[in-house]
């Protein structure tokens, strides 16, 4: 691994130590610290959870439990393209499940995962309040509505072309 990566990482870990120091000894500090850590790193990998556990003197199992309980925490780095498919009631009844399966299939990842090249991540979200457009999907800030399996296939093809990824290659 290049040292430059390490440096910027250790910088973030230094900041994490500060965050922990600030909250230490306050009751109920776990969730705020995890929240700030997530903003700092973008996600909560095992190393970060370990530092938090040791810093706040709580078992790692607790940190992991909280991280997996609240959907606002994520254990994996998000992709350059963050894809969210709404599985709220309105979208669901209009076939969002088929949409999300199609996307997962094309990206060769499971829901909740990030592709190994770090380009795409796929999540199911709760209602995003665009029920009129159901079923809905967002890619970063961009919203796509009234999707069908065919439509979503076309959209995803374009993204895959843009990043130059061979659709048949294994992600």
């Amino acid at each position: 691994m290049g040292t430059s990566v390490c440096n910027c990482k250790s910088e973030k870990f230094k900041q994490l130590e500060l965050i922990i120091a600030e909250h230490k000894d306050q009751p109920g500090s776990l969730i705020p610290v995890m929240h700030e850590a997530q903003e700092l790193f973008g996600y909560l990998p095992l190393e970060v959870q370990t530092v938090i556990a040791e810093g706040l003197d709580v078992p790692l199992a607790d940190v992991y439990g909280v991280a997996t309980f609240y959907s606002k925490f994520t254990l994996q780095a998000k992709g350059q393209y963050q894809i969210n498919v709404c599985l709220g009631t309105a979208c669901y009844v209009k076939g969002a499940q088929l949409i999300i399966e199609k996307v997962a299939d094309m990206l060769k990842i499971k829901v909740g995962e990030t592709s190994q090249d770090g380009l795409f991540s796929l999540d199911a979200t709760r209602c995003i309040g665009a029920c009129g457009l159901a079923p809905v999907m967002t890619v970063n800030e961009k919203v796509y509505g009234q999707l069908t399996v065919d439509k979503v296939e076309k959209i995803m093809k374009e993204y895959l072309d843009t990043v130059g990824r061979d659709k048949n290659a294994n992600a």
Partner: protein, 574 residues
């Protein structure tokens, strides 16, 4: 004290303020069924099995976490309560892999008992366990498909043992009790103590079964299979056969082992005496020659792993003595092999232990003698019971057998190793004789006995003051070591056992179906051991004739070079 008057099932009762409905009902001999509740340990009110109806309140309330109030009128078994309770159990069963016939917990399962008592006669939901597959470490097997999410194991692991490697994770129907990233328990700081197994109401946790290894060794004519049995096993094994708690079944156990086909039936009590010879010498040496103090005992492998993970600054305080289990193996494959003229490569050593951590200890790298593994297979008290049942013996009717020589003789000092404070007392008996040069008769060190989690005492022997501490449960050990670190306490000698109460309550001991009796069971098992001690003619380790023979013949003297090669070890940072 403020008293509260209430009515439960039409009966008047008056209890102090702050009492739960569950406890108040107990006063009236009304047993409200519970599942997740363990007094003082897991009072979370999550399973709802204990629901009762309170007049004037909407819905039902959990009795285990609802406090009484003046004039309350409670029904614990009316139609609504009965139906709801049954329904709750049915819902639990809906997400439970129901395989009682092949389940390790069959007949000792709280869920089974509850369903039976609540009249659950049909399960209306499809059987489906949404959880992860079975995972096994060297000591512990977790079967999430049978977990009822009571959270008891989490409480024991975090709050009694101070380990905290398991917790709830995920949400909704995926909720599970698991480790971070579903690690196997052998990949993290789990100390293999098995206290989670003992507290689990169902078959979601059990020991890793090694009986197959033992059966195939017995069936292999090319092997000389010897077995050793730890002190605490003999006062608990009887429970598996319906005998009263605390019964001493040593004689029957020896007969059973002989019938199972072991070539020699030996006693870990023998090597416990050997441990005292070495540890006593080590203590005096450290005190007299400015060695590292306090000396901390090293018999309990759960404690050792705990120390290696969390208190690395105390590793030099640990006694370098191997545990009795390992000393036995080392002696069996050297001294015994020589005396019996058997190739050590052909000797297969089996241990019967009250402990799941012993399975881990046996495979530690350091635990080898002349290139041989000291112990080849470790089974728990429960696994031995299983083997006996499988072979169709009527255990309660077996005649009393006696251990084989030359590794079978033991003293009263050795047998009390199985209870918290026992190692300390055994060591004191020998140390006192060495220091005074006498054969002291007053050898009951009552000040170190008891079941409290932390005890302190100072004894004076021949003008030498020795400050002692005894802790059981790694959580209590942690608190004590923190105090020492902070300079708030100091001792010469500390005994640590990883499990509350010591080995009598180890993670491999018979399951106590009624958990509210745990305290009482510990007490009775401990009394069983002290009873054996009293009945022994020889009660001090250094007077064990076979131990004397071992030194004369093989080791020369305690602390000799050869002893160090065979019986001492070192520890690693984890």
């Amino acid at each position: 004290m403020d008293m509260i008057n209430l009515k439960i099932d039409g009966l008047d009762v008056s209890v102090s303020k702050g009492t739960t409905i569950l406890e108040a009902a107990k006063e009236l001999k009304i047993d409200i069924p519970t599942l997740c509740y363990i007094k003082k340990l897991n009072e979370v009110g999550s399973c709802r099995v204990c629901v009762v109806e309170i007049e004037g309140k909407r819905g039902l309330q959990p009795a285990c976490v609802t406090n009484v109030s003046e004039g309350m009128v409670v029904s614990t078994a009316n139609k609504t309560v009965r139906e709801t309770r049954k329904n709750i159990l049915e819902l639990i069963l809906a997400n439970h892999n129901r395989e009682c016939l092949s389940c390790p917990r069959n007949l000792k399962c709280e869920l089974q008992k509850l369903c039976n008592e609540a009249g659950v006669d049909n399960v209306y939901y499809e059987k489906k366990a949404l959880r992860s597959p079975v995972s096994a470490s060297l000591s512990i097997v977790r079967d999430p498909g049978k977990c009822v999410l009571c959270g008891r194991c989490i409480s024991v692991c975090a709050n009694v043992q101070n380990v905290g490697v398991i917790d709830f994770a995920y949400r909704g129907p995926q909720t599970a009790v698991t480790t971070p990233y579903e690690q196997n328990l052998s990949e993290n700081s789990c100390i293999n103590c098995g206290q989670c197994i003992e507290i689990c109401p169902v078959g979601a946790l059990q020991e890793k079964d090694d009986t197959d290894k033992v059966w195939s060794a017995i069936d292999n004519p090319g092997l000389h299979v010897v077995v050793q049995v730890a002190p605490a096993v003999r006062v608990a094994l009887g429970e598996e056969f319906g005998m009263p708690v605390g019964s001493n079944v040593e004689g029957k156990m020896v007969s059973a082992l002989k019938r199972l086909g072991f070539d020699k039936v030996f006693d870990t009590d023998f090597s416990a005496d050997l441990t005292i010879m070495e540890e006593g010498t080590e203590l005096l040496d450290r005190i007299n020659n400015g060695g590292k103090l306090p000396l901390i005992t090293s018999c309990s492998p759960g404690w050792i792993k705990f120390c290696e993970h969390n208190y690395q600054d105390f590793l030099d305080n640990l006694s370098s003595c191997k545990s009795p289990q390992q000393m036995f193996g080392a002696v069996a494959k050297s001294y015994y092999a020589k005396r019996a003229d058997i190739d050590p490569a052909k000797i297969f050593v089996v241990s019967v232990m009250p402990c799941t951590a012993k399975k881990f200890e046996a495979v530690r790298d350091e635990m080898q003698v002349n290139g041989y593994r000291e112990v080849d297979a470790v089974i728990t008290t429960r696994e031995l019971a299983k083997m006996i049942k499988l072979s169709g013996m009527d255990f309660t009717k077996l005649p009393d057998g006696t251990f084989d020589g030359i590794l079978g003789e033991s003293t009263g000092a050795a047998v009390i190793f199985g209870a918290t404070g026992g190692v300390m007392e055994a060591a004191l008996r020998t140390v006192a004789d060495i220091l005074t040069g006498k054969d002291l008769q007053d050898i009951d060190y009552k000040e170190v006995r008891g079941l409290e989690g932390t005890r302190e005492a100072t004894v004076e022997i021949n003008g030498m003051e020795i400050k002692l501490a005894i802790v059981n449960g790694t959580g209590n050990a942690a608190k004590l070591l923190d105090k020492i670190r902070a300079g708030e306490a100091n001792y010469h000698f500390i005994e640590v056992m990883a499990c509350r109460g010591g080995c009598i309550n180890g993670g491999g001991q018979p399951i106590i179906l009624d958990k509210s009796k745990t305290e009482e069971v510990r007490q009775r098992r401990a009394e069983g051991l002290y009873g054996i001690d009293r009945s022994k003619e020889i009660r001090k380790s250094h007077q064990n004739p076979e131990i004397k023979e071992l030194y004369a013949d093989f080791f020369e003297k305690p602390g000799s070079h050869k002893v160090h090669e065979h019986l001492h070890t070192h520890y690693v940072k984890r």
